[in-house]
Every structure is written in structure tokens, then in C-alpha cells.
Symmetry: C2
Subunit: 228 residues, 2 copies
């Protein structure tokens, strides 16, 4: 299989049958050997991290597909840490969609003059550009359209899908007594009709979850969610 | 008269007759003695800077009022560098509205992956919070509403007024062979009906203008605009 892209935590291959293969690696992002899901560099390698992330991704993607929401997911091979997906075209050079239920992280850092840390937010959605050199800047729907990254119609759909998907994940976490504070997604255009669909992965590193007042770090979160 | 607020470049007094008085100072923002309209500290004092800024502000506010657009402007006393205005309530603790005709400054720094420096923009409007400690962060209409800073209706009106006011100023500059690249405004709620109105000032430091490929610094811009 031809490798199309070598990522920080995943490699992408062309299966040759119209689908792509994502290989989940045990490398996780971080700085100086400390795991940090928000970091833009590979910090360390953790045995089994790839398979755990894939397992959770598979569980969530199956639930999202069942809810009738389009994703790129086809199937997953946990043993080999690979996921078969439909090819997707990203928006511009890639954007991240962040859904916030609580004012924490970069939202609180930006708007701390107007909110308390941890304050409730009403499913607030924002889009940032994937651009390591410019610290993933926030961008408005107006600018996304003006710079040819996505249309207003795509933006509206993406916000709607994000809230629906977030609800599914929030409810799954609640079953394990976990509270979802925020989560980031990636979307792309899939199929001949280029419909907006959820892509990439949904693993522990994509979200911030708490049990009571205790932050649950990504690998622990995956363990809790995947326990029978 | 009672001083209500001591600002970096203006002081505000209560006239006691229902209006406020803005006193334009000769202090200009900058760093280490160098004038920089974007700076958050007073850098130096320039003899006559207050009166020149007020003259230009008066000229623009009169034109904007004539166009039927609400402002807080009542009248100006150039000799004493004071402007009488209607009291206004700012949005939250103050926001800045930026109108961009060219991709320069913070827009280019944020979105340089998707544009060339100086590229045309189609009257792009964005809002930032006035918050020196957080570097005046960009904020979306959604977040403005969620944090109780302004309603969606106010935002829509503000964007519309910004484009109309920008056009007036762009045309005035064009008469002097100057091209407006971007400009920042402040708006507030004025009167018993709390209608959205342009407030603060419109002087050289509010805008970025070029003559051909040459950047015209704020004080030179004021001189050109005020010459008979």
C-alpha cells in the first residue's frame, strides 16, 4: 500500500480499492516526554496507545453512524491498529471544530474577563485553523468563506452536526459518570457529492472530561470508556 | 466638572447637562518613545496631537451624522481640544470593531496560511475584546451573545453600520489620493432606546492608510486630511 501521509499520531495509506487506511501509532503528542493532547509535537510513545485510541474511535463512530450522521468510518481492525475510511477532502489545509460545554482551556484564556473558569456554556462551537506556526488561530464563518475555506452553508451544517455528535458522546461519557467539558472534531467533504462528514478520530486526546472535580487524563478516560 | 474616567489619550468628564465632555490629550500610545497606534501604553507626548485628532474626528463624525448614521457626537471645541458627546454604554467592558479592505496586520498574522500580505478583502468585519491583558482577543458573534456582551441583532446592525461608515471614510481618503487598508471603530448604546451608535474618535491612529506603496503614519495622515 502506498503511504499518502505520515502524521504525528497516524499514518495514511491508499488501499487501492477506493478507500484509505489509517494506521494508529503508539506515538502521542506532548512536550519533553509529558503527554499533552494539545501539543503539536510528538512527546513520547506509549505501548498500546494506538489500539486504545482506535477502539474508542470505533465505538463512537459506530454510534454516530447509527444516528444517521455521516462519517468517513468504514471499519476497524483493532489487532493491527488500522481503520478503513472513505477518502475525504479537508476544508482548506484542515480546520478543527471545538464544542464547549464549560469555559475552560483556550476559551477561558481568551475570554476570562467575561466568564469564570468552568462556567457552563450552551454548546458553544468555534472553528480554528490547523496551523502549528500560528498557534491554530480562531476564525469566523465570514473569514472562512472569504478565504475560500468553506461556504456559509457548510459552516451552518458543520455546527449543527457538531452539536448532535457532541450530545452522543456526552451521553456515553455520562453513563460512566464522566462529564464532558469540551471536545474537538475534524470534518471533511466525503463522496462524489462532497457531503460534510465527521473524519479523523475520537479518542481520549480529543476531549476534556471530568469525574466530579477530577480531570481524567486521556489514557485513563479511554480505559474507563472501554471497560465492560 | 467631574472627571469620570482618565484614559490613555482622552479623559472623560460629566458636563452635568446630560452630556459628557471628552478631552483629547497630546499623549499618544506607543512603546519606548515611538508612536504605535496599536500599543496599549502611552509612549510619548506630541504637541498638538490632541487637537489634530479631534479635528479629524469632528470632520468624520459630521459627515457620518449627515449620512443619517447615529453617533455620540454633539459638537467640538478645537481650541480647547474637547468634544461634547451623548453618554454611551459600551458593549461589555468595551469591544473594537475592525473593518478590513486589505489583508494586513493581525489578520495577516493569523491567516497568513490562506492569504498574501496586502491581498484584497471584501469589507471584512471582525470584533475584538478590549482587554490589554489578553491581547484584545478575537470573538465571534455567538460568543458575544453567549457571554452577554451584545445580542445577535446588535451584532448584525453593528456590522452593517461599520461597512457604511467605512465607505464614507474610504471615499474621503480617496479624495486625497490615500487608500484605506483597515480601520477600527468603537460602538455603544446611546439614548433612552439604547440604539447602536458610533462612539469614541476617528483619528489617524484608528486606521492604516497608504499612498501608493507608502504607509502614511497617523500624524502625517491627519495633516494631509486636514489640509485645505
Amino acid at each position: 500500500m502506498k503511504m499518502l501521509y505520515q502524521g504525528k499520531t497516524k499514518d495514511i495509506y491508499d488501499k487501492g480499492d477506493g478507500n484509505y487506511l489509517l494506521k494508529f501509532k503508539d506515538d502521542v503528542t506532548g512536550t519533553d516526554g509529558v503527554f499533552d493532547p494539545g501539543a503539536n509535537t510528538v512527546g513520547l510513545s506509549i505501548e498500546g496507545a494506538g489500539r486504545a485510541g482506535l477502539k474508542l474511535t470505533k465505538m463512537f463512530f459506530e454510534k454516530i453512524n447509527q444516528a444517521g450522521i455521516a462519517t468517513h468510518f468504514v471499519d476497524a481492525d483493532i489487532e493491527n491498529a488500522t481503520m478503513t475510511v472513505k477518502p475525504a477532502e479537508v476544508f482548506g489545509k484542515g480546520v478543527e471544530v471545538i464544542l464547549r460545554y464549560k469555559a475552560v482551556g483556550s476559551f477561558y484564556r481568551r475570554y476570562g474577563m467575561y466568564c469564570e473558569e468552568g462556567q457552563e456554556l450552551d454548546s458553544y462551537v468555534e472553528v480554528t485553523l490547523k496551523d502549528d506556526n500560528r498557534n491554530d488561530p480562531l476564525i469566523t464563518d465570514e473569514a472562512l468563506e472569504m478565504l475560500g475555506i468553506m461556504t456559509k452553508e457548510e459552516y451552518t451544517l458543520l455546527v449543527d452536526l457538531t452539536k448532535k455528535i457532541g450530545n452522543i458522546i456526552k451521553e456515553e461519557l455520562a453513563k460512566k459518570d464522566l462529564e464532558l467539558y469540551d471536545i474537538k472534531f475534524e470534518f471533511g467533504r466525503v463522496g462524489a457529492d462532497k457531503h460534510v462528514a465527521l473524519i479523523d478520530e475520537i479518542s481520549g486526546g480529543n476531549m476534556r472530561a471530568y469525574r466530579g472535580s477530577e480531570y481524567i487524563e486521556p489514557l485513563a478516560l479511554e480505559k474507563i470508556m472501554l471497560a465492560e
